[in-house]
């Protein structure tokens, strides 16, 4: 099993840390993982993306151009990454700020209104965990207890009291994600 994922959005959306939590969760499941951010002046202008690969075998390249799953959190990223999903793959997106919804017919498209939900729940900080919940629902690779362990590993000790809130957010994400096509 190898799952190749791109997560893309704005800088402030927690894209990188979401990826990191996924990777750490993979580690907890004894998987090989890699986490590869886009780097350099691409960052100017505020976009951020990260490639996460979870696999049972050694990962060859951390930089790839086609993905099993794309998690897309703004329009610019939609424009850039919709086409990179492998046929038969999955695209999960938050519709907030999306002006052109995804159109491909050869992939499974899911929508998760995480931003809206987060502001409803007054939990903007765990917006990315809601999205992660959506992913976990759609692709049952990462187990909740491992994700919690991953959170523990990736959050500094002083934030460990926030883990329950994160868990809650993940669960909420699992509930609100919906298939579009």
């Amino acid at each position: 099993m190898t799952e190749e994922i791109i997560i893309a959005g704005f800088g402030g959306q927690g894209v990188l840390s979401m990826g990191k939590i996924m990777a750490y969760s993979g580690v907890m499941q004894d998987m090989e993982v890699s986490w590869m951010p886009s780097y350099g002046p691409e960052m100017r202008g505020g976009t951020a993306n990260v490639i996460v690969i979870l696999s049972d075998e050694r990962i060859s390249s951390p930089i790839i151009r086609k993905f099993d799953t794309a998690i897309i959190l703004n329009q610019q990223s939609m424009d850039k990454f919709e086409d990179t999903v492998k046929p038969g793959g999955i695209l999960i997106y938050d519709s907030n700020g999306i002006t052109r919804h995804p159109e491909r017919g050869d992939i499974a498209i899911y929508r998760i209104d995480a931003a809206e939900e987060a502001s409803k729940m007054k939990m903007q900080k765990v917006f990315n965990m809601i999205v992660l919940g959506g992913f976990m629902k759609v692709k049952s690779i990462l187990k909740m207890d491992n994700v919690v362990k991953g959170l523990k590993k990736s959050l500094p000790e002083r934030y460990h009291n926030l883990i329950p809130m994160n868990e809650e957010a993940i669960k909420r994400g699992m509930e609100i994600v919906m298939k579009v096509n």
């Binding site: 704005f10 329009q75 610019q76 002006t99």
Partner: protein
């Protein structure tokens, strides 16, 4: 007395919503919109167009050169 009236045209798609023009405007003409543009920025727009005196301060400080300013004397 001749009064000076101004107007600004903002290329909202290119605006990055930095708000520098907003705080520079001596007449509080400008504000950031609640909507975002294609790039995801809350762009600047003329919230009080009648207040504008065409001083061009906003355009002069705009890092992205997205503001054009017009001015005319009105009676």
């Amino acid at each position: 007395m001749a009064k000076v009236k101004g107007a600004v045209v903002i290329d909202t798609e290119k605006c990055k919503g930095c708000e520098v023009c907003v705080v520079t405007c001596p007449t509080q003409t400008l504000a950031l919109s609640h909507e975002v543009n294609g790039k995801g920025y809350n762009y600047s727009y003329s919230a009080n167009p009648e207040a504008c005196i065409g001083c061009a301060n906003c355009a002069v400080v705009c890092p992205d050169g997205v503001i054009t300013v017009y001015k005319m004397k009105v009676e």
